[in-house]
Subunit: 457 residues, 2 copies
């Protein structure tokens, strides 16, 4: 009899597993329909971008965004909404920056530029110095203090267009902005101009954090538009000596009080086991922070809304978190970890959406091989909604502190082709977001949260 019984059991198990997958598929379709039909993420994003706008940490708008998203979370049906206090760096740009290229014979032209985040000011009178182009850190080292002292270093390093994954190019070139000013300061540079980290040719400077080194002076640092970088580079080949006048009144003030905003659905079986989904609420001051990262915040609220609208009762507690201060300090992410530890919370899984609200393509995971193997079994459930890869490697700045707790981390990877056209620039506006793309991201995120809650990790 054995030979007959075993296949029967196997068949029964297969049917059960198929039925389970059919049920999952059905529930994910329900989530998708609900979100694509009744989703509020786009309308909420309009409020965040158009009624509040730029919301740099420490600003009045950042505080308005805290209050507005707390209301959105309540409207979405969160069981509880609360704020997690954190102190944040408070950098202010000051007056509109000025940059003017001074050629021979009184020829001159203005640069489209902006101070990098956290940059020191030039003083109200500004500064004028000769500019020199540098195309790599190796080149910087070769020049050394003799050539660099007293000059303005102009880093002109384009993002590599041949990487299909634009985040890879950003990774390759990003240290020019974050470390370039400090490295030039080491050799006595007067100031730094950085070619904007942008994937397109246009007239908008892209800001972003620069990190000073306490061993060297904090010199003023600016981003210039890619078009102006090209123009300046040409001028440098045709003129023997090119000077630049620079002026900014940026300054770092005392740390300011702020908050993460958290909305929660209480878990029906394991209320102290948390699944977190979030984005960061702060944005650069030049942009509406639509794709970076209004979309991630609004998607996270949307997931709570959809669960509530469909009366899906998760086993674990699910939190939508709007992290504060991702852009120039990461204090919200740390505050979230501190809160978790202080309250002895168990954090099973944390998902972040901070790569734009474009059509989703993949999720990346920081997990064990065993855990990833389990996750990859869900692949077919995502395929109808655009996600076709579940890969090792991923997360997000705000959730990375949770690694300390052994939490499995994940990041949504949407299509990245347009992201660095607008990243940290004035072009990152509500109009640059597609409603359907935004909602489709939320659909896939909701599906992942649903599966992790149901099956654990």
């Amino acid at each position: 009899m054995k030979k007959i019984i075993l296949p029967l059991i196997a068949t029964m198990l297969i049917i059960t597993s198929t039925e389970a997958q059919m049920l999952d598929s059905f529930n994910i379709k329900r989530l998708s329909d609900e979100i694509l039909k009744n989703g509020m993420a786009y309308d909420n994003l309009r409020v965040l971008c158009k009624e509040i706008g730029p919301r740099l940490s420490g600003s009045a708008q950042a505080q308005k965004a805290v209050e507005a998203t707390a209301i959105m979370l309540k409207k979405a049906g969160a069981d509880t909404v609360f704020l997690q206090p954190c102190m944040v760096p408070h950098w202010v740009r000051g007056e509109k920056e000025k940059g003017r290229v001074l050629l021979e014979k009184n020829q001159a032209f203005d640069l489209k530029l902006c101070a990098l985040g956290n940059s020191e000011g030039t003083g109200v009178k500004g500064l004028t110095a000769e500019v020199m182009e540098i195309n790599s850190f190796d080149e910087l080292e070769k020049y050394g203090a003799d050539s660099i002292k007293g000059r303005i270093v102009f880093y002109n390093i384009p993002m590599n267009p041949t990487n299909v994954q634009t985040f890879r190019s950003y990774g390759e070139t990003g240290s020019i902005r974050t470390r370039g000013p400090a490295r030039a300061a080491k050799y006595g540079a007067a100031a730094v101009l950085v070619r904007s980290l942008a994937s397109n040719a246009d007239d908008y400077p892209h800001t972003g954090t620069t990190l000073y080194n306490d061993s060297f002076p904090k010199i003023p640092a600016f981003a210039i538009s890619t078009n102006d970088a090209d123009r300046l580079s040409i001028e440098l080949t045709t003129h023997e000596k090119v000077k630049v006048f620079l002026r900014n009144t940026s300054t770092m003030l005392e740390d300011a009080p702020s908050f993460n905003v958290v909305g929660e659905i209480k878990g029906s079986q394991f209320p102290n086991e948390y699944i977190t989904v979030g984005g960061h609420l702060d944005s650069w001051d030049l942009a509406e922070g639509a794709q970076d990262d209004g979309t991630g915040c609004m998607q996270s609220i949307e997931i709570l809304r959809a669960f509530k609208a469909l009366n899906i009762k998760p086993s674990r507690s699910i939190r939508a978190v709007m992290y504060m201060n991702e852009e120039n300090g990461g204090r919200g992410g740390k505050a979230y970890l501190d809160w978790a530890k202080a309250n002895n919370e168990t954090h099973l899984f944390a998902l972040e959406s901070d790569a734009g609200g474009f059509t989703p393509r993949a999720f990346g995971f920081t997990a064990t091989a065993e855990q990833l193997k389990k996750i990859v079994q869900w692949k077919n459930l995502f395929l109808p909604y655009g996600v076709y890869e579940l890969n090792m490697g991923g997360g997000g700045s705000d959730i990375s502190p949770l690694k300390e707790l052994g939490t499995v981390l994940a990041g949504l990877s949407p299509d990245s082709q347009r992201y660095f056209d607008l990243h940290h620039a004035a072009t990152d506006t509500f109009e640059a977001v597609s409603k359907r793309e935004l909602l489709l991201g939320a659909v896939n995120m909701a599906a992942l949260i649903y599966l992790v809650d149901k099956y654990g990790l």
Copy 2:
């Protein structure tokens, strides 16, 4: 010895096949780097959209586009460039259309509307009639002539937002625009308003072809914006009687002479065996025809350019074809078939890009199961460039006549979430195209052409 020899041979075959795949991978990377770094498709598209603009069949701009793309193909390095003559329908919109909703007590508001393509005019005086909302063809049939005669039928059927594939929703709702006016004419309707086939809520009417039925009168037919459709629908629930004034002076003229534009690289081994890649050059008159289908044309030219720049010499002859008159007649596609037959050409494969220049996701094929099986083996070669599905089913309107010759057909399927926000509307402009997305489409198309040329089908 047999048992030893067989695995050895198998191993040798595996190594050879791996090496071949490595070479293919290397050559596709070369194509990708060339296109992403030096691609001209975006600059060419700017010329097409900004210097020429809308190019409806029979218009002076369509002729300018013929001349401009012939020059682009020569600059791309085509061995030969030639024109294939075809007669095309010549519809003209006439004066800007007027639509005004007349409520009780002298209340009124203007509609954002446009005549559907091929629509008859109202006459210069326009017409005024009572409007009735219809939500399906079933409802139309139920009302019948008694209710419909002398009235304006307002089809108010939104695209279904819950389909992830927007082309599916377009397919489900499209017949309202193409067949709706003729079906209402059967019951004596005075005119038809169609809710724009659009995936978003905005103020732009989306035009597109409507098809009359010779058995019934050709009544004027218009598209109204989705916002106005919503507003009109509300007015109809709150007012007992709503009239609409409509005026358009559209008219169908005599067929006009026009051309397909063809650029060719002569095959080194099988010059009479053709591989075709193309898009359609004509566009609706309200739009710059950027995503529909300037992008497909410019990608096709780009493939020739990249092959020539890298000195890749295909075995078969490769043609980039700018088809004329896809939008309101399909005459270019038919002319291409006639030319192929008249010249006894063998057509192995035809690829069309006519779903927008967004990031590519898939190719769909009209092929035998055997052929598809061969194609699917190439899947891993596409994965790094964004295409992850090679499916049965696909092609394009312009290449579909080639089915008669047994040609394998394929269509590029880019991400479709944004397409119907702008399809056939004034918002289909150069600015709506991302350079990187456009070029990435060309990369995948070039890879497919390269593989089909190398391995046959």
